[in-house]
Symmetry: C2
Subunit: 353 residues, 2 copies
């Protein structure tokens, strides 16, 4: 197995984390595990930069997306969904499933969310605004603070999907006023897939406690009351997450973020040098954790990168399929991995000329 | 870490499975992984003894319990819940959450379900009957066939939770006419927690397709259409499940079931020889995967087993707390493990005299 995983999640899982996941399983109702779980949750909160209740769910990031929606949104509630990629679209789909009156504010895939247009679209009775911080489908980063500033002093809740950036880019849940922040294990934490994370503000709890939607596994009230989890959690995956947090602590979160910034810049510079154009409209809206590149030859490039160089990169999603390729540089990806990828890409492009 | 896990799940995870979970992660959208996932699903179906659609969900067994309920039951639907333990109760709670008109038919915790009383309680408009095959809280096994026989030729669906028995006891999903069968990775599969399994009959699909309940992550229609999964699945846990199925294939399922039967008998005989009384009312209703034992000294026994012998057994649940201890002998637990546990128990009892 020599394939280098340069996809925007799942990403390379370091040996320390994989080793932790091979440890003998202990029971999840023992004091030892409860302590590990609490400690892991507290360390996770430091990555979220939040004092809000934060929960670890057994499931994918989508489970947490749904938990954020089905616990807060009631039938007929007005939801403003800010869309500039596939994952921001999914949040709107989820709100529609729960009967919300969803207004979708669309931006070009490649452009960031424009707060001025959000301001225009907002009504005082909007229950929830949803957005994605780091759009995995486009490599665009959306500023959160200008959106939360619009909601200051209102009853409107802000839900931010930070799945593909938390732990690899600066994110300040509390300072930015994010009521519901979602993340997952398999992106910048460099862990295996299978755990979703969600933080819940006091403001959000009011909506959650009043919400009559039928729910059980994703009922956040159950997680709040649980010691430590309402349902069996995966001890193996918690071992892995704990090891992932060890690695983050060892590197220091701020240093890790700088590494992601540096590698992202290195990747974009190399890409441009090879004559490519990136999908995001400008440098300052670019993701620190992945780079989306325009190319009509995306399919053959991805194929040759894998077959000739054992490097897996990702394609475009939805209408960007075949027109874009995406390079992930998140989690444990190093400068050397990015350089190796760029070098391989250079060779692939030479052959394709 | 020398603690021997003799709890009724999670249970001892063999080295082969833990090793598999430490393998480098590949991407879940690659042909290699899709093939592994399909193959794993097909092998799982052979353990279920079903030709029905069978899905692997990222989540605990409860996620699958909810999926079985929220996809089939509508508000006002009549549900007959057969209860003789904690987990059968949970199925009723779930149906109530989704607005069903739930009739709970209670049996003593320790007694099996009586089909004659079920026949009396059944009405032609009952949408769903729920039961647990192997009650983890009491160590009682409920016969499925006599219940499904009552539903023959009716529109009523049968949901069976086989979480703590599948892979360790004989279970025939199709032959027994089970419309929705649920299981999970951390019991007789001897795998880590984190994956739930559910099989769905044609009869159940009609109810599912007609059901307007809001759902997304647990929407079984999405799993049916997916290639291979609608949301990111945990490659690491699928590696583990595949290794678990390798071990089952190597031992042969029938041999594995006989091992469970033999170990269960060994455990009960040893327990009785020590002067204990088992919770189930008779030998022929006893679980093959765990033994529940009556004892007012349960708390101190559990404590001393752990502290003096490094063997973890479980306590009673709900009103059986402090009155019962439970020994798991599922998954990879051997005759030697059971003997070691009985010997330790003998010593503990000597000391307590």
């Amino acid at each position: 197995m020599t394939e280098l995983l340069m996809t925007p999640g799942p990403t390379l899982v370091p040996l320390e984390i994989r080793g932790a996941m091979s440890m003998p399983v202990i029971h999840h109702r023992t004091p030892e595990f409860i302590e590990l779980f609490h400690e892991t949750t507290n360390r996770l909160k430091r990555v979220f930069k939040t004092e809000n209740d934060t929960f670890i769910l057994s499931g994918s990031g989508t489970a947490c997306m749904e938990a954020a929606i089905c616990n807060t949104v009631q039938k007929g509630d007005k939801v403003l969904t800010l869309v500039n990629g596939k994952f921001s679209e999914r949040l709107g789909d989820l709100a529609k499933v729960y009967g919300a009156d969803v207004k979708v504010l669309e931006f070009d895939w490649g452009s960031p969310i424009d707060p001025a247009l959000v301001k225009e679209a907002l009504t005082p009775d909007t229950k929830l605004v949803t957005m994605v911080f780091n759009e995995t489908s486009t490599g665009v980063k959306n500023e959160v603070k200008p959106i939360s500033d619009l909601l200051n002093g209102t009853e409107t809740l802000l839900l931010v999907d930070a799945i593909s950036a938390l732990g690899g880019d600066e994110f300040k849940t509390d300072e930015w006023g994010v009521d519901l922040c979602i993340s997952g294990s398999q992106k910048c934490f460099a862990m295996a897939t299978g755990l979703g994370f969600i933080s819940v503000s006091q403001k959000a709890w009011s909506a959650i406690n009043d919400n009559p939607n039928p729910r059980y596994y994703l009922d956040l009230r159950k997680y709040k009351d649980a010691k430590p989890t309402p349902f069996s959690t995966s001890v193996t995956l918690i071992y892995g997450l704990s090891a992932a947090l060890d690695l983050i602590a060892k590197e220091k979160l701020e240093t890790r973020i700088v590494r992601h910034q540096t590698n992202a810049k290195l990747c974009r510079d190399g890409i441009k040098k090879l004559g490519f154009e990136i999908l995001p409209i400008s440098e300052d809206v670019c993701s620190n954790t992945l780079t989306a590149v325009k190319s009509d030859k995306a399919a053959v490039i991805i194929k040759k990168m894998l077959e000739d160089h054992d490097i897996r990169i990702a394609g475009g999603q939805a209408h960007l399929k075949g027109k874009v390729f995406r390079i992930g540089h998140m989690g444990s990806i190093t400068k050397e991995h990015v350089e190796k990828t760029l070098k391989a890409l250079e060779e692939v492009m030479k052959e394709l000329q």
